[in-house]
Amino acid sequence: MENTDWSDVAASLNGDDDAYGRLVRRYEKPITGLLWRFTRDPAQCEELVQQVFVDAYFSLKTYRGDAPLLHWLRRIATRTGYHYWRRKSRQPVETTLPEADVLEQIEAAQEEKIDPAEAAAVLQALLARLPDDDRLVLTLMYFEECSTQEVADRMGWSRAKVKTQALRARRKIKEIAEREHLLEKLGWTL
């Protein structure tokens, strides 16, 4: 662990609010980047980012410092995002319509010319059609470039489970993409 992190963690444990503020500012960007993959709604995303840092503060005593602080925060953030999806999937009314809209609005473009935000929105809309566990594995693999081991570490799952999940999820997402005529819509058929 970096010395600055270590001293700020120790100071935070002794009740120094400013030290914890420094930690939040240092790691807010990567944590926001991760949670942006769980929701593209800025208000929801901000709420989740806050939740991660509040939860991390109250669990700071359990942080042993054997891995970088960012890894520990990412684990909390991944679980927070996953639970957010699970809560959302118990409310069946929302999400499908705007996501369907995104897929309808795809405009054909060369890979270099496609807008990154549009690419992310399309990919997230497709992934949203998967069950939560499949969606999580592919989200971490596509957006965070996580290996099966990293996904397993973040979620406390076995590597074998993640491998099976990834295989199944890839098969499902391929079917969805073909059903949606993704290649034709993107103009990438050649």
Partner: protein, 87 residues
């Protein structure tokens, strides 16, 4: 190109997306303060317990002092009884 390859390309492009910045540090600090278990609630309880202990000590001290001045505590306990008017 198959669908999985297209998805991998989309992912590569998506990773270049600029991420919004929220500056949550102040809000996090406020939430932590409001969610912190109030350790102050233990202070009145401790104060009350302390005062009770002091009062109990004073009572015990006085009881021991009175005990010393009694020649026969049992007799003094029942002594007033013979003087009582029974009818």
């Amino acid at each position: 190109m198959d669908a999985l390859e297209a998805l991998a390309r989309l992912a590569r492009k998506a990773r270049e997306e600029p991420i919004p910045i929220f500056n949550v540090a102040d809000e996090v600090r406020l939430r932590i303060r409001s969610e912190k278990p109030a350790s102050l609630t233990l202070i009145p309880l401790g104060l009350f317990g302390g005062l009770s202990a002091v009062a109990a000590s004073v009572t015990l001290f006085m009881a021991i002092e009175f005990w010393k001045y009694m020649s026969s505590p049992i007799m003094e306990l029942v002594a007033p009884l013979p003087e009582m008017r029974l009818w």
